[in-house]
């Protein structure tokens, strides 16, 4: 299983803090599966992320996915994906 945690506005959109998902091949596949589960609000965020590489900050086991293969980063049993909206601060 893959543990997925949600933060910020994404947590509000999906309505939960955390979930467990059957292992998928890649982050992209996992997001597809989650879009199916959480519907349009989450799906839109995912779509925008695919298009612009923005909108979601995706951290897999403590690494931003950009540095481990992007959306095609492979997944394995026991991984943890943290899903954040694009935010900023100082």
């Amino acid at each position: 299983m893959i543990r997925v945690s949600f933060f910020g506005i994404v947590r509000e959109i999906v309505g939960e803090k955390e979930t467990q998902v059957e292992a998928e091949d890649s982050v992209a596949d996992l997001l597809e599966a989650l879009s199916g589960r959480y519907g349009i609000g989450f799906g839109e965020k995912v779509l925008k992320t695919q298009e612009r590489d923005l909108d979601l900050i995706l951290i897999l086991n403590g690494r931003h996915i950009e540095h481990i293969g992007g959306l095609s980063a492979p997944l394995k049993e026991g991984d943890h994906l943290a899903v954040f909206p694009l935010v900023g601060g100082g």
């Binding site: 933060f7 910020g8 506005i9 590489d53 951290i59 950009e66 909206p85 601060g89 100082g90």
Partner: protein
């Protein structure tokens, strides 16, 4: 409004005097941070004791402060810092700066020392010093209320110090509009050393754009970018800065217990998400700000603003504290007593490590709770003692470096140039470490917020673990930030806007002849002049452009960034070179000629 002027206040003589601004300095240094730096550089006698009457305290707006450009309400406080001994330049928002602009003054230069406590009351072009004996000892909220009552204008705006500034705490800030702080480097102590309790301002002027039509179009474009940008259009308005807690913690670059570790299991308990579920009561914004990142909060017995991300970390994880309630309470205390929250948290965390390792003896605590990591009681109690400069709090109020030195272990002070580090571990995020090390005002994240590319991916995602390219990114960010800080706008707009946008606003708003390149060049000039100021005040780059030994030698012990250490040693030589400085970190004559600095 007529041409902007400067007000010189001589507290020793008790006089005020109007002066014109120097147009060459405006052209070269813009205003705000840049103009203030130039003024200090030209006027301050080298080697002046920061807390002596010889020091000068400068409040400087940018040319766009008080205008309708987005976030055009910022001012800077520039002086010689009693914390670092180098340049202090602290930025603040709220409404005070914009009100000062309406009086027709762009800058105030406060010199000398008053014999008794006074406050300054500026109403349009008239200014007078008034007795503040009855205000001395009051906190910033009570002071603000009392001054507003006395000047008889509830719409006036007040910047003031609390007891921490009066008692010369080297980590004291200046608070305006009750909740906004010119926070860092001990600027509040300089104000206190001059016996100046507050500055109240009220003006009736209005901003006149140099080219109203041009500005209108520039604003349309700028506002659209701010609205459409994920950070400025959604992230900051919805969650403020606090949402960063979980991100940095997930990355394992969220310093815990005075940087002994870099991930905190209890962080979720004081995250932005938790704050939104619990103590959050509303949103606030500064003057002319379409972003509105400010948070209103309330405890059972008190309400206020914040805490921001930096404060949540400094008073939370850095002290090992999980829960929001004591963090919010300590944040309120800092604002009321006038302490910089980052340095306050960094000093308590250092005191906790000193105590736990046996270097602060128990008897020095008096009746206070033990300085143990994770103790909410200790956090609240010692924040108050520090703000009131009492007991051990008196020693802590001098900042962690002096505290550590006093107890024989300055290595537990996590500081650069004696100023406490912000909330990003430079071992796990290499570029921000470069910013900390070379920042002219000591450790600081907002001199060049490399977190934007290294963590958030704006404008593009850089790997936080690598050093390659960070010197180039650092230089651009440092220069751009220096220019933004001089314009009167908020740095947070830079998630959405670029150098060209700021240049256009200054061009159409203030009639300045700037484009993206010359704006960055002005930033380079400002940064370089700050450097010259520091060198004149005794900066030794080999000793001072560095990070605490812990971050260079002790790897992050666990978590995703396990094993990482800061590699500023590779970035700094490259950075000096890009700046046109020699290998020792001194600007070369050719660079000064290029920038037109004599």
């Amino acid at each position: 409004m007529e041409a902007l002027r400067l007000l010189r206040v001589d507290l020793s003589a008790g006089t005020v005097k109007q002066e014109p601004l120097n147009p060459d300095w405006v052209r070269q240094f813009i205003g705000g941070r840049g103009y203030g730096t130039k003024l200090l550089y030209e006027e301050l006698k080298p080697g002046t004791d920061p807390l002596s009457e010889g020091n000068k305290l400068i409040f400087a707006n940018g040319p766009l402060t008080g205008s309708n450009v987005p976030t055009g309400g910022r001012y800077m406080v520039v002086t010689k810092s009693p914390l670092t001994g180098f340049i202090a330049s602290s930025n603040s928002g709220g409404y005070w700066g914009a009100e000062l602009a309406r009086t027709g003054y762009m800058a105030l230069v406060v010199e000398g020392k008053s014999k008794k406590p006074v406050y300054l009351w500026i109403k349009d072009d008239k200014a007078e010093l008034r007795d503040a004996s009855s205000l001395w000892g009051k906190d910033t909220h009570a002071t603000t209320d009392a001054v507003l009552k006395e000047v008889g204008d509830p719409k006036a705006r007040v910047a003031c110090i609390g007891p921490a500034g009066e008692k010369l705490s080297r980590i004291a800030c200046i608070i305006n509009d009750k909740h906004r702080a010119a926070g860092r480097s001990g600027v509040g102590a300089v104000m206190g050393s001059k016996n100046l309790k507050a500055i109240a301002v009220k003006g009736s002027g209005t901003f006149k754009a140099a080219n109203p039509e041009g500005l209108k179009e520039t604003l349309r474009v700028g506002m659209q970018k701010i609205k459409e940008n994920g950070v400025t259009g959604e992230g900051l308005p919805t969650y403020g800065t606090a949402v960063l807690v979980n991100i940095l913690n997930q990355l394992g670059s969220y310093p815990y217990k005075n940087f002994q570790e870099s991930q905190h299991e209890g962080a979720e308990k004081h995250s932005g998400e938790k704050l939104a579920e619990t103590f959050l009561t509303g949103r606030t914004n500064c003057f002319a700000c379409p972003i509105g990142c400010g948070r209103e909060t309330a405890l059972e017995d008190k309400k206020g603003e914040g805490p921001e991300y930096e404060t949540l970390w400094a008073l939370g994880s850095n002290c090992g504290v999980d829960d929001l309630e004591p963090i919010i309470r300590a944040n309120y205390i800092c604002n009321e007593l006038g302490l910089d929250t980052i340095s306050a948290g960094g000093t308590i965390s250092a005191a906790m490590e000193l105590y736990e390792k046996g270097f602060i003896p128990k008897e020095d605590l008096g009746v206070g709770p033990e300085l143990k990591f994770g103790s909410a009681d200790a956090l609240v109690y010692w924040t108050e003692k520090m703000g009131k400069v009492e007991g051990l709090g008196e020693k802590m109020a001098q900042g962690s470096y002096r505290l550590g030195e006093l107890y024989g272990h300055p290595e537990f002070s996590i500081t650069v140039k004696k100023q406490e580090l912000p909330a990003y571990d430079p071992r796990g995020i290499q570029g921000i470490g470069l910013t900390y090390a070379v920042s002219n005002r000591g450790a600081c994240h907002v001199r060049g917020y490399l977190i934007s590319p290294e963590v958030l991916g704006i404008p593009e995602k850089l790997d936080p673990w690598v050093t390659e390219g960070k010197a180039q990114w650092g230089k651009i960010f440092h220069d751009l930030t220096a220019a933004i800080d001089s314009s009167g706008m908020c740095l947070f707009t830079s998630f959405a806007l670029g150098a060209g946008d700021y240049a256009d606003m200054l061009k159409h708003g203030a009639g300045m002849d700037l484009d993206a390149d010359s704006l960055l060049e002005a930033g380079d000039r400002i940064w370089t002049l700050e450097r010259l100021f520091n060198l004149r005040e005794g900066l030794d780059p080999a000793r001072d452009d560095t990070l605490p030994v812990r971050l260079l030698e002790e790897p992050i012990p666990k978590g995703p960034a396990e094993g990482k250490k800061s590699r500023i040693d590779v970035m700094i030589p490259e950075y000096y070179k890009l700046r046109g400085w020699d290998e020792k970190g001194v600007p070369k004559p050719s660079k000064l000629a290029e920038l037109g600095i004599k």
